[in-house]
Symmetry: C2
């Protein structure tokens, strides 16, 4: 094999490929990038058996061939080369020579035959979004997936297409995040669960530009994202996702409108008095026109008032401050609306169009109050 | 006590004070900032028993007093406050209340009496430099102090004043770094060893501006730095520093002039094939007009040629690449000069005026060559 690519093109493609290289594996071949120049295109493939990426590299093929090279070493080499054309050649033993200007690297490679190719996805109906939208929808929900694997379904996100609307849902037992996006075309109804890891890796590769498109295809066991010169295939999580509709209610006894930044800064200040692992709730007392936040810990105490607009009853309620912070951080609106029922019922933060809904369970503070 | 300071002034002073707060200590009082408003000035003091810092805070004293507050908690509070005036009051039990706009924090404090005050330094002759110069001289030598404490003297830097010239020296047994700076005034000769930790902390506080001055005072056991509104006092390391003059030689058999960036980038590329802890030397073969760098490891091999100017004999020599990288990184010159004698004698990198001299011991490569 002999290929010539610019350093910048190589680096871009290697960076994409690295997202599907497992950090630990019992199959050393998976730590490689498969470089396939057997056709008229140079194609890099990586696969950690859950997530697979294939990306086309702009470059010139002088001699067709294929080789698998250790992804991390290859990345480190390319990264440090001068900004110029890079030539990669292999001999019959798959030893690769990488040259750029006067620098010459020689590293051992492997035949590509053992490589686990990506599953072939039958492309029928595709869902097309802007890369910006998909990236934003992931960012605004991914924080509330469960970290531990006790319940596999909680480590993924529900992608639901219904009534020409895409809905992404994540939940971890204490909170639910929902993002909705009306679709421009007609689509058939679908419901799948995508691994959180896939989504966080893909959002690192997506350009985030509103004019760049991404096409999404679904099969029974896989999801395929196609964008730019890249294809990302991921297994799905099997099983039926939680029925959340019964947990969502539009009833409320108290509605609060508050400046998001003021609220976030205030919670941020309060949490500095909470040591990690300590489960101190933040206590919020909602009255007409003002909301008082209070926290009391071994390190000291803090309280602060914020101006609000309120409809309905006064309420005293406690929250895990992290859950409020996580949700507030991803909301772009300047003013947010909170809907509350009573100190034991979930609090909803949502916009009027319900493009986003964040449900957060409160923490029992009656004990704290009786002290 | 009741004082009012702007958030930004407080934050600046707390940031400076934190540099002398020990991360671990058996004396909890040392984890505090002593706030002294008993005179007409607000003064913050911290002291880890080796390094002490006193800094004046611009602000207004409404009620004189003194309190010691946990430095890290106080920092976290100030950092998160809105950008406005901050009021700090204490009651008779040293409980401090910190208010800013509508935010109010209450944290426990301590009486200042147990605090370890800074030693009083008798100020006689002072050495005055620009903060830029001192910061640069530290940066250009600090990397070659020894990390482990087997030899206390190696963990510090020699400050030597002789013939109206300040010389800073550090060494770790494998290399020596020397920076010289001619002084504008006459000074009496001095020789002291300053702890490396003191120098790295102080260089974080120095402004780095060429127009800002720093005055340095020496006593038998202490060094005092005075700049802006801050005083830093440090213990010295006792003992006589290594005699390095006999190790320095201006004889050479080979002189090489090379572009610093090219050389550094090339070594950087070579080292990616060396796993951490692996003691692979980089082999440099110096011929007329070109220098070839080679490295061979279990991960692969690399070689590259660089254009040079050479006087004297050809030479083949090996180095620990890290030592070359450390020295090259802090040199500002575009072209550097290396002086070599033979593959077992130290290599010198120095400028014509000997403002800087880096001595690096080579690594024996004869075994590698015999393979």
């Amino acid at each position: 094999m002999k290929i010539i690519c610019s350093k910048s093109n190589l680096l871009k493609s290697v960076n994409i490929s690295l997202k599907a290289v497992p950090s630990k594996t019992t199959m050393p071949i998976l730590e490689c990038i498969l470089m396939d120049a057997t056709t008229n295109q140079i194609k890099f493939t990586t696969n950690d058996m859950e997530l697979g990426i294939e990306t086309i590299v702009d470059g010139h093929i002088e001699e067709k061939g294929m080789v698998a090279l250790d992804a991390k070493i290859f990345y480190e080499i390319i990264r440090r080369l001068p900004d110029n054309d890079v030539t990669i050649t292999t001999d019959s033993n798959f030893v690769a020579t990488i040259t750029c200007e006067k620098a010459k690297f020689t590293i051992p490679g492997k035949a590509g035959e053992d490589f686990a190719y990506l599953p072939v996805i039958e492309k029928d109906e595709s869902l097309t979004l802007s890369q910006f939208t998909l990236k934003e929808m992931i960012r605004q929900t991914i924080f509330s997936i469960a970290v531990n694997e006790n319940n596999r379904l909680m480590t993924g996100e529900l992608f639901e297409i219904k009534d020409n609307c895409l809905k992404i849902v994540s939940l971890d037992g204490h909170r639910i995040s929902i993002r909705k996006m009306p679709l421009k075309k007609e689509y058939s109804d679908r419901k799948i669960v995508v691994p959180g890891k896939t989504l966080s890796e893909i959002s690192k590769i997506l350009s985030g530009e509103i004019d760049d498109q991404v096409s999404i295809y679904f099969t029974k066991n896989h999801i395929l994202f196609e964008f730019d010169q890249t294809m990302v295939v991921s297994r799905l999580i099997e099983g039926e996702y939680f029925r959340i509709d019964q947990m969502l209610s539009s009833d409320y006894d108290t509605k609060v409108s508050v400046n998001k930044k003021e609220f976030l800064d205030c919670i941020d200040r309060a949490t500095l008095l909470v040591r990690e692992g300590d489960k101190k709730p933040i206590v919020i007392e909602i009255k007409d026109n003002s909301m008082e936040l209070k926290i009391d810990s071994a390190m000291g105490s803090m309280n602060e008032e914020i101006d609000i607009e309120k409809d309905g009853k006064d309420i005293l309620i406690g929250f895990n401050p992290k859950f409020l912070i996580d949700a507030l951080k991803v909301i772009d609106d300047e003013v947010i609306h909170m809907y509350l029922m009573n100190p034991k019922a979930p609090c909803f933060i949502r916009d009027d169009e319900e493009n986003y809904t964040y449900l957060i369970l409160p923490v029992n503070i009656s004990q704290n109050q009786n002290r």
